[in-house]
Symmetry: C2
Subunit: 137 residues, 2 copies
Amino acid sequence: MSQSTEQDIAQDFLEQVRWTSDGLVPAIAQDTKTNDILMFAWMNKQSLALTVEEQRAVYWSRSRQKLWRKGEESGHVQLIKEIRIDCDEDVIILKVEQLGGIACHTGRHSCFYRRLENNVWQTVEKVIKDPSDIYSK
Amino acid sequence: MSQSTEQDIAQDFLEQVRWTSDGLVPAIAQDTKTNDILMFAWMNKQSLALTVEEQRAVYWSRSRQKLWRKGEESGHVQLIKEIRIDCDEDVIILKVEQLGGIACHTGRHSCFYRRLENNVWQTVEKVIKDPSDIYSK
């Protein structure tokens, strides 16, 4: 197989994704052991390519308009165990090993720590580590 | 408590959601027993209110621009067991009992039935029921 053909195959999976008009795709990070949903973020083509290449979650920060290697400040890197795509090819799941057990910037395991109870969003997950200890480096 | 105050409280959780400029919020449906991610869809304020009221998943179909009571054609209704929101208040999880065990229009348990293997999206989940048998009523 020629080098260019190999490269074409290597990039095909990126072309199959149905990117939004902004060039993004929603990504759900899921704990590979518990199946807990950890967080939700966005990826662009480069961030998905880098995620596959580096085997760690790399997102696209819409607020900062730059690549976001999850854990670059906190150390809470997400190691890739599996990547899935849905039937419409417009949503990605990253099954990850969450280093430190903390995905949320609030110091909790998951960003989804509030549950609707009697029409009120109630916090039901504890803070594992104080954010000021996570980001004070 | 006056009736209007009760109504205010009842609607507050809807106001707390950070809706997109289109008035939508992403919603992830997750199997309450296995924690498998079943599908991803969008909700508007009315669909979230109806989801809470009827205790079944009601989405907003962006392609059809109308409310979509999941299972209205297929019978694959999603009964609500828990609703969560993330730290940014802009993503919802519906933990559901998936009637029929099928969430995907392809007749599979989950819409996320393709896994990236050597840079190719490979189908790794079986069809439980032929779609022509699901939608031929």
